[in-house]
Every structure is written in structure tokens, then in C-alpha cells.
Amino acid sequence: MHITLNGEPYELDQPVSITDLLTKLDIDPRRVAIEHNLAILKRQRFPDVVVGDGDTIEIVNFVGGG
């Protein structure tokens, strides 16, 4: 299945939870914010929300800026 991850096409074998996706990507859930199909997800919902085919995911964190 295809999703759009941070603006790029991304392949997944099957629907996964946000938590699993982060694990797969080796991203610490406590350091990021996630937008699922333009809706922002509270951190506690990461385990329940499932990423399906065609979904759009934004994963952001803090970087240096002024």
C-alpha cells in the first residue's frame, strides 16, 4: 500500500499503527508531532490510529531556528 510521508511517496506492506510506523522508522515518539490526513494526533492516540492506503502523514520535530 502507498502512503505519503512528509511529502514523499512511501510503501507499506500493510496497515500499521502510528506507533509501529515510528518504531519502523526508528523515531522516538516523545520527540515528534504527527499529522494524519491533516488532523493532528494527540500522542496517546499513536497506538490506536491506523495508517491506511493513500493516507498522508506528516512527522515533525524541532530543529535549530531563529
Binding site: E8, L25, A33, V60, F62, V63, G65, G66
Partner: protein, 259 residues
């Protein structure tokens, strides 16, 4: 003599200097500069995690969040919608509902789009944010931002990263006189005397990044800025002498030997 505390939206800060986290040669240098600056609020950008190639180390590993308050910003946003969306993501990623709101109007000047900025401020205030908008030195725009619920107004002294110093001292002074919220000069400072001048004009604080991160010796410059902010603030409350065209002797005129 005692100064009034520096309070924004009910939160008191020890330092009137707010610094950035961008453009440092390394996170280690940044951490030392932050330490030297004495700042207890730093601003950070919100960006997509780099999926393909990610450095392990996170910016936050180099900021002692027990002492330093994190102010997410919306740098790089060119519309109210982008800025609002980024602000929400920043709130989710962060530890607070504060945002340094930027809605850029032009790539070369990075000047704010005040119309969009005011609209975004209105929305984010409704959404429960503490909004600190980066604007230009326009007293009318600052008043509208205040009316829209901004917790402070942050007029620029000069273009971001230009180091030109305060280009229009009269406007900053006017904005301070007409505002009822803290006035923070954001952007344009190049060296210590610029920061001191901003405070002497009555600014409640100064926010800077490039002046420190881009200096030959960022840690030394951070220390310079710490002292400059204190100096300018003290001079403002101490009440400077008036300017005169001619001289006034510092020593007694009478009693000179042989007269």
C-alpha cells in the same frame, strides 16, 4: 534600584534576552552560547523529520528544558494557514501552547505579511495559544496584533540576519509608548550596542539568533549580548542625561591655581 520583572502572559523570565537555535557550527557550541547568554527562553523551528537520513542527535538533547523555556516558531511559513498548522504541530511536539508567530511576506526581506499575521494571531488566540508575533516596526500593525490578543509584539529592528541594527529608533520608541503588552525587538541586531540601544528605547526584551550564532566567536558574543541587554535596561531605568550641543565642565570652574 529595582526593575519590574519581565513577564509575558503571566510567566516571568529572568533574562530579557531571547535567543535562537539556528546556524550554530555544532549543538555543543549552541549549548555553550545559550549558557553564556543567560537566556531562559529559546526559539526553535518546526520541521519534517528527515526520514531517509536522520542524525541520531536531537536538538532538545542540547537544551536543558528544566531551565530553558522552548518557544516553537513558524519560520518559513508564507500564509496564515501554514503558520496556524505549524503552530499546532509545534504545540503537540512541545511542552507548551506558546508560539513565535511568523508569516513571511517576501523571500528577500523576510518581512512579515501583516494582514495574514493579524488574521493568524486572531485564530491562534482563539485556539488557546500564547502568541508572540514577529512583525515590522509599524505601530498600527502592533496595535492590531495587541487587539487580536497577542501576548507581546515583536517588531523587527532590521531584516532578519542583516545585522544592520535598529533602523528606525523613532518607531520602536513609539511602539513602546502605544503598546500595553511587552515589546520585544526581534531581528536586525548585529552587535552589543544595537541590543543596548533597543533596550534604551524602552523595549522589554530582545530576540536574536544570527548576531550570536554567526559571530566569529559565538560564546563570547552571547556573553556580550547578555551584558548589553542588562546595560541597556539599566540605562533606560536610570534615566540618561539630556543631549547638549555644547560642553559642560565636569570639574569646578573656580579654585584653579594661579587664577
Amino acid at each position: 534600584m529595582n526593575d519590574t520583572p519581565f513577564v509575558i502572559a503571566g510567566r516571568t523570565f529572568r533574562s530579557r534576552l531571547i535567543v535562537g537555535t539556528g546556524k550554530y557550527s555544532s549543538n555543543a557550541v549552541m549549548a555553550q552560547a545559550h549558557e553564556a547568554s543567560g537566556a531562559d527562553m529559546v526559539t526553535v523551528a518546526v520541521r519534517r523529520v528527515n526520514i531517509s537520513d536522520r542524525s541520531r542527535e536531537s536538538l532538545l538533547d542540547y537544551i536543558d528544558t528544566s531551565r530553558i523555556f522552548i518557544l516553537p516558531n513558524t519560520a518559513g511559513c508564507y500564509s496564515a494557514d501554514e503558520a496556524i498548522r505549524t503552530a499546532h504541530l509545534g504545540r503537540e511536539a512541545g511542552l507548551s501552547n506558546w508560539v513565535k508567530l511568523e508569516v513571511i511576506g517576501d523571500e528577500r526581506t523576510l518581512f512579515p505579511d501583516n494582514e495574514a499575521l493579524i488574521a493568524a494571531t486572531r485564530t491562534l488566540v482563539k485556539d488557546g495559544f500564547v502568541v508572540l508575533p514577529y512583525t515590522n516596526d509599524d505601530p498600527i500593525a502592533c496595535r492590531k496584533l495587541e487587539d487580536a490578543g497577542a501576548a507581546a509584539v515583536m517588531p523587527l529592528g532590521a531584516p532578519i540576519g542583516s545585522g544592520l541594527g535598529i533602523q528606525n529608533v523613532n518607531n520602536i520608541r513609539i511602539i513602546r509608548e502605544l503598546s500595553h503588552v511587552p515589546v520585544i525587538v526581534d531581528a536586525g541586531v548585529g552587535t552589543a550596542s544595537d541590543a543596548a540601544l533597543a533596550m534604551e528605547l524602552g523595549a522589554d526584551g530582545v530576540l536574536m539568533n544570527t548576531a550570536i550564532a554567526g559571530a566569529d566567536h559565538p560564546v563570547a558574543m552571547a556573553s556580550a549580548m547578555k551584558h548589553a541587554i542588562i546595560a541597556g535596561r539599566l540605562a533606560f531605568i536610570a534615566g540618561r542625561i539630556p543631549k547638549k550641543m555644547y560642553a559642560t565642565a565636569s570639574s569646578p570652574l573656580e579654585g584653579v591655581v594661579g587664577r
